[in-house]
């Protein structure tokens, strides 16, 4: 999580230091993609935990 925060801060810094509009858009997209991956990981982790706790699987 700390790695992620550090990376997002670094990308924000590059965003401000870029002189090109398209590149700024790309750097912003990189930040958003990392956030989206993180969210997807949380969802899958939740799904995995839910599956483990599913009583239907207890006898398996």
């Amino acid at each position: 999580m700390e790695d992620k925060q550090w990376m997002l801060a670094q990308l924000t810094d590059l965003f401000h230091k870029s002189r090109d509009y398209k590149q700024k858009a790309l750097l912003m997209a990189a930040k958003e993609l990392i956030e989206e991956q993180e969210k997807r990981k949380e969802q899958l982790q939740g799904e995995l935990d839910g599956t483990l706790w599913n009583p239907g699987n207890w006898n398996g």
Binding site: M7, K17, A25, M28, L33, K41, L48
Partner: protein
């Protein structure tokens, strides 16, 4: 994949949204932009030339302002002239079969109005049925449209998101897929001109960002694998 964008607009120069899209185009030899009103100011369409252009591309996109629930007149005229029998449909009319077809719509009214009970009353999917039918008849796969609502009201951040979305729409096989967007973004980060960033550490940070995206993908695939295994 070779993409053809057919732009139709009565006055491209004065449209801020269309100018934004044109400026947003990625530098790629795989993309051809064809502005109809510019190519045919007198409305006389070179049918053979247009058909050749279609044959040379895999993904055909119509980009236009959504006027009265349809396209500007020249694009309709283009359809009438170019998509003729024995080329696009009918006996031996299979030249478009297997290609992809999509719309890039610039729409003046807000998204929420395009639904039952909204000001417009009908969804974009309903209103674009003739284009879907055209794709169906000519054997093309209809893609989800890229609908751009109320461009002048967009924030700078939203415009940047649109720029990326537009580029992905033109270049990626399945622009909805997270995995496909990851691969595209990594490639773009690898190719971006670091000279344009006034920071000594830019190369290092971009490398780290790529590594983080790749590591996240590995974790995502692993989680998915565990979940699938549990369901067996």
């Amino acid at each position: 994949m070779k993409t053809l964008i057919l732009i139709s607009h009565p006055n491209l120069e004065e449209s801020s949204s269309q100018q934004f899209l044109v400026q947003s185009l990625p530098e790629s030899t795989e993309i051809t932009v064809h502005y109809l009103e510019g190519a045919y100011p007198d409305g006389q369409i070179d049918i053979k030339k247009e058909q050749e252009l279609l044959k040379q591309h895999d993904r055909i996109l119509f980009q236009f302002p959504f006027y009265w629930y349809s396209s500007p007149p020249l694009l309709k005229h283009w359809q009438d002239e170019v998509l003729e029998e024995h080329f696009a449909f009918g006996y031996r009319g299979n030249k478009l079969r297997g290609k992809e077809f999509g719309l890039i719509l610039v729409i003046g009214v807000g998204e929420k109005e395009y639904q039952t009970g909204g000001q417009e009353g009908y969804s974009i999917s309903e209103l674009t049925k003739p284009f879907q039918a055209m794709a169906n008849k000519t054997g093309m796969t209809y893609l989800k449209p890229l609908s751009i609502f109320q461009f002048p009201y967009m924030t700078e951040e939203e415009k940047m998101q649109l720029l990326i979305q537009y580029q992905q729409w033109l270049m990626i096989d399945r622009p909805d897929s997270l995995k496909a967007r990851e691969q595209w973004l990594i490639q773009e980060l690898e190719n971006t001109d670091q000279q344009l960033i006034e920071a000594d550490s830019s190369a290092f940070i971009l490398d780290e960002a790529i590594e983080m995206i790749e590591d996240n993908r590995l974790e995502l695939d692993e989680l998915r694998m565990h979940i699938d295994n549990d369901h067996q």
